[in-house]
Symmetry: C2
């Protein structure tokens, strides 16, 4: 090893997920939305003036913050935006979790939480989900340096009623509590309305799922102005310009068309409810999903075998080779046609 | 202070720069390119399929890496891309500067270097520029945990000949040496050609200046595959998706049209050389700039007064209220028309 190599940061190498290419495949592995963004996004893209690109983007992303403020009926100073909810949550770890006490998040949850904790030197504990994959709220009634959990949880899809979310927040008013609502629009009730009641509550959402904009990298957090100011102070202290101009402009457009958004979400919910019936008929069981995916286990066939068989037939779902969940498949809800292709193959295979 | 507030990270609050709005102003304060991106960018923007946005972007930014590989005649595994060179350099600090020895960078230089060093807990020393603002290469012949400097330097505009850059690199083969070439295309010779000779050399460039794409947030680093692999390992370990789809697609287009790029750069160089004559006639002195800005001091008038007078007349330049440079203005090279407006006002004012 050369001397300069000795100073390289040690990290766990990343194993990229399947990013299959081609037109005849059914891609149900990354929880993307099967429908395009709103027509307003298409129109704004066509009208976009490329000459603007020569200038730095607005560091405050004002046009996007304005649109979110209008949509959610919150003030501008209650909104923080970032380059995807990954950026927003990483920034929140960095900003709020500077304590010697452990941050708490579920043992089965979003895989980046422990990564960010380690990156920023934050101690953490992972209270276990119960045997039905439910978050046990009482596990979060202990001393901590902060709390984060997704609702609905990933990769289980299980939704926690707002009253239980509030129980966790109200028991932890000395810590910042973050509810990661990447999948909330698919039938859940957001904790947004609680942010004015609890000044330590931060709600994070994303444009990547319900708003069909994963490719644009847009996430946001809503909370009381003291939290938002702290996030912006940390962000601006080391990088002034992160969200590019197209994301700001097209992101703003994406939240304007409520009817299209509602319609798309309803189609996905409808397809998901159908999927529950069809997968059940095929011998699958799963926690009750309120997300745009179903986390399913088969009564006889091994998840890994099904995953590989599907893969060989150009149908991609997600498989996690991890304790407790290594016999489950996470199946994204696609179009009705894509789901038919899945059922059709499974019927043959099983 | 509430308990949750006690855990908020302490940072130096950011003071946003002037982002003046309006059509009748002359904006010479952020080193943006006065000319639009290449026509290929305009065409690709018009053809862009908004339906693609629903999918996650390629985490490897392959289309952009391919275009850079073709342009610079280096291999794909010698290229790292990030969300602006700020993202690339912050990632490089995080990846390469894990040492107890101090990282070295000039006392007058890019203001984010000490910020990133503090963010990642990296010790640093700032060797002083000489009385003519030159980097003294011998100051970098001492024990260190890494070296970074811009060439040309900012905000001075001074260029260090490649032979001196090589002297610094060859004296420091036990550290990673980063040359930040944000302004190299305006007349300097890049250290790119040295990256195959010195495996510890990383060259960072950006689309924000010479390529007229500040609004898209694209930066890149070129170096030997071991350095690039380390950067990618660190990046992927905590965030898979950072550069959005439009930046990947339009960034690739931006590097294809060499003739337009060359033409734009030459126009800016020509305007800069004119500016040197005109500013000199007006009583200004300045280090010899090889960038798209001039760092000028007036023989009688105070920089701060000139800055404020210009501002009141909708002409924006940059003023740094810092030791050693508080009697200088950093004036971005705009179009000939914009520069005429500047000279015209200054002639009246002085």
């Amino acid at each position: 090893m050369k001397p300069w190599e000795a100073n390289i940061r040690k990290v766990v190498p990343y194993v990229p997920g399947d990013q299959p290419k081609g037109s005849h495949l059914v891609k149900l592995n990354t929880n993307e939305n099967p429908y395009p963004p709103t027509p307003g996004v298409s129109a704004a893209l066509k009208e976009m003036d490329y000459d603007l690109f020569r200038k730095y983007p607005d560091p405050a992303s004002s046009v996007l913050v304005d649109a979110l403020s209008e949509y959610y009926k919150v003030d501008r100073d209650e909104i923080f935006v970032g380059v995807g909810s990954d950026d927003v949550i990483a920034m929140a770890f960095m900003t709020f979790f500077n304590s010697d006490k452990p941050v708490l998040f579920p043992d089965i949850s979003y895989s980046f939480y422990p990564v960010w904790a380690e990156l920023f030197g934050v101690p953490y504990e992972k209270p276990a989900l119960d045997e039905n994959f439910k978050i046990v709220k009482e596990e979060y009634y202990r001393e901590n340096g902060g709390i984060i959990f997704p609702n609905p949880n990933a990769p289980t899809g299980l939704y926690m009623p707002l009253s239980e979310v509030e129980d966790i927040v109200s028991h932890n008013q000395d810590s910042v509590v973050i509810v990661d609502e990447a999948y909330i629009d698919f039938g859940g009730t957001s904790a947004l309305k609680l942010t004015r009641k609890y000044e330590n509550l931060l709600v994070v959402q994303t444009f990547s799922k319900s708003r069909s904009m994963a490719g644009m990298r847009i996430g946001y957090a809503i909370g009381n102005p003291a939290l938002i100011r702290a996030l912006n102070d940390v962000k601006y202290s080391y990088n002034s310009y992160t969200m590019n101009m197209p994301s700001q402009i097209l992101g703003a457009k994406a939240v304007e068309d409520r009817a299209y958004f509602q319609d798309t979400v309803e189609k996905i919910i409808h397809t998901r409810e159908q999927a529950k019936l069809r997968l059940h008929e095929l011998g699958f069981t799963f926690p009750e999903s309120m997300a745009n995916f179903i986390f399913a286990s088969h009564e006889t066939a091994r998840a890994k075998d099904i995953y590989e068989a599907l893969r060989q037939n150009s149908i991609f779902v997600r498989y996690f080779n991890q304790p407790r969940i290594d016999n489950y498949l996470r199946i994204t809800i696609g179009t009705d046609e894509e789901m038919e292709a899945l059922y059709c193959f499974l019927k043959e295979y099983l």
